[in-house]
Amino acid sequence: MATTGTMPPKAVNRLGFTMADYRGQESTLCAGCGHDAITSQIIKAFWEYGVEPHRVAKMSGIGCSSKTTAYFVNQGHGFNAVHGRMPAIATGAMLANQHLIGIGVSGDGDTASIGLGQFCHLLRRNLPIIYVIENNGVYGLTKGQFSATADLGSKLKTGVVNDLPSIDCCQLAIELGATYVARSFAGDPKQLVTLLKGALAHRGTCVIDVVSPCVTFNNHEGSTKSYAFAKEHEELLNEVGFVPFFNSIHVDYDEGTTIQVDMHDGSHIYLRKLDREHNPLDRVGAMTLLEKTKDSGELLTGLIYIDPVKKDFLSLLNLVDAPLATLSMEKTRPSRQSLKEIMSELM
């Protein structure tokens, strides 16, 4: 099955940018942190897809993961907000300018602990952004306490065992209204970059929950978010291929083993089924799958759910085409006459 070939880093993409144009500040994370691996794939995906850097709005909360928005697309526009509240910032930003390409990066603490309420409401709105959760099961930046995605029974270095069930952000995402829901692993760059490109082609909330080991605080034995554990327990749900709209490649696929999904922008996603029978267009099936495998210890990765037709939040608002942010006064201040009209009604 065909996916877009990876271009050599000095080449330019369809817009004439090199991969370097998609890099950001130097990372200050620990060497080996999963988050840095994810950053690399974001850079690559944005480059390969050919995103205009000036249209990129990079938003995050607080945490090691949330810092990474500074580490890609330097020419984009970044907003490192407060802990757990990126969804609100992202919603406002997209309202003001629906032409922006919104990407939010968050941690598991940021999203599933303090930020859970906002996350859920963002999902419900199906706000068109890519929402990457860099999931390490702990609060990295505050030195390794359990977050709400920590698995039941997993162990901290100190020996403390988590006795609460983990929150599954993908399951919530499907349930509450997101329309592109995937799980991946920082150690699986090929899958991740493809999922990210697919997300760029989708209009709606794209949740990508990426297991991203914290090498400093949660990469030991007993952790279920370590590189070793994830490598050992990763189970591909499907093999994801992406053909962007600007690529004329014709893909021959076997309908029995592969599902084609047509994206908003003319791109296509191809999903080759693996052992497990799973149709990511089937919402009930996707939910059931996650529910059933909850305590199995498997790390199911791939595209779990996609709804390519549901309207996103901004579409529901029937906005003028130009960004609200830059409408001229002629458009935003009604006429002198209209005020007279209002006043006379109040007399």
Partner: protein, 614 residues
Amino acid sequence: MPSERAVPAEEREWSSHDGLIINNFCIQAATVNGSGSQSANLVLLRAIFQMGVPVSGKNIFPSNIAGLPTWYTIRASQDGYVAHKKDVDVLIALNSETAADDIRKIRPHAAVIYEESLPLARLRDDLYMYPVPFSKLAAQVSGDARARRLLINMIYVGVAAELLSIDFREIEVAIRRLFKSKSKAAESNIKAVQIGADYARAHLPKLDPFKIQRMDKTRGKIIIDGNSAAAIGCLYAGCTVVAWYPITPSSSLCETVIEYFKRFRIDEETGKATFAIVQAEDELAALGMVLGAGWTGARAMTSTSGPGISLMAEFTGLGYYAEVPAVIFDVQRLGPSTGLPTRTSQGDIFSVALLSHGDTKHIVLIPGSVEECYSMAIAAFDLAERFQTPVFVMSDLDLGMNNWMSEPFEYPEKPIDRGKVLTAEDLSRIGHFERYRDVDGDGIPYRTLPGTNHPLAGYFTRGSGHNEKAQYSEKPQVYVDLMNRLAKKYETARQYVPRSVVESADSAEIGIIAYGTTHYAILEARDQLEALGTPTDYLRLRAIPFGPEVGEFVRRRQRIYVVEQNRDGQMADLIRLEVAREAGKIRSLRHFTGLPIDARFVTESILSREREGD
């Protein structure tokens, strides 16, 4: 019932003509909320207004939806006083639960219209009592219990109109206006008014002295509540993004925004909206959305009340430190925590002026009239973008939800000010861009809007330490410089915010400082004080930070009374800090019952403090 008598001595101020008291009294309708009496009260209010008589209405309602006592006071004042007045002259007692108590509280020689079956006639013997068989009258018209309840309201309008000589035609106009879309309802209401009027004419000989007479003092004026006025301000301010969460007494602001925006802000060519309004999941999200939108360049706002302000503390600090424009209306209600959601207050001053941890100070506008709700809403958006910071507009329940007369609002002549925004062309011309550099020496840096198509345009907004280039920095000097620049920006704001209004002959020893709705009690109290030989000067604050006129005003007077509606004298404290060396002059007068402050409170408090010598 008392015999016919002259206006009592303590009421000299009243206009009296042939023993009558004309255009100068308070009507109070005591009813049950959710019973539809609000429409009846508005009809009365408007009819008086249409007769050219200055009028104001205060709604004292409970924090629930139906079945609890509610009071609506209409004050007609030929002199144009619109402050709350405690003395009730004409009581419409329709709430059987509170009627006895209501009657006990009104002034001597007042008139009482009440349901005849209630045993109230003998409670006092110094009142003019008008029993009316409301239920029976209503039953004649409708069999349906709910309809009957509604009709009773209009019947009392008829009774009152007849007794007080309110022109029936004006009542009719007011009713048609209110029910415009539903003209059948209008007819049946008019009929009910007629029934009341007929009954009064036939059975209730006029005994009391109160009467409305046509004047010419309201021509060309409008009646509006502050929340609607602020909504209209947002409309003409070019506001583009609204995110809100319902809370009394602020909800109607955004709800009115929705109405007007749907009507006037749909692009004519495309039929599409030039605005986005989102009902957020809570106040944290509401302000977050506003900041997100402000960052990308919308003129964005939210509206809330006390509990929402507390929830917005963290995001406000982000807006301050990352320098993101936002407009936040705080329609204040009473008390800490949930408090009394349907009572008025000016209790959030301190909280808002310094909202959030770690050295923050905010620009605060304080409208003192519905007109200022309108014009300061417009100013707030301009200031928010000019100063790239959250700007608060502090209204209160009294201003926001009650009806006030006003001159019609004027179309803004100043174009919208988007502040220091660099476009792609600017960037090409200048060749460099440092988001947080103080280029002009006023503390205000330049910004770009995300989406600007220029390689220099991008910068990184954050609530953590950052240098002029918006890069993360923990360097001590970088932090100090940034914080000092923010302080300088705040100083610059003193020149831009609305100045205080000073009314002075500059001879008085006594200065009064007040703000917001306290203004109306001060206006009236100053006249009372003047009449009693105690002239005063007056400064009405309109914004924080203060302009130099505040210090000046204090310096030039002996004693300053800061009058406000909260327990702790919050503004008095801010003024003390402003004039540190003369802080000893400041005397704080505080009214915090949750009812709007009245002139008599001010007059008596000042007189007694003057006597005490403090």
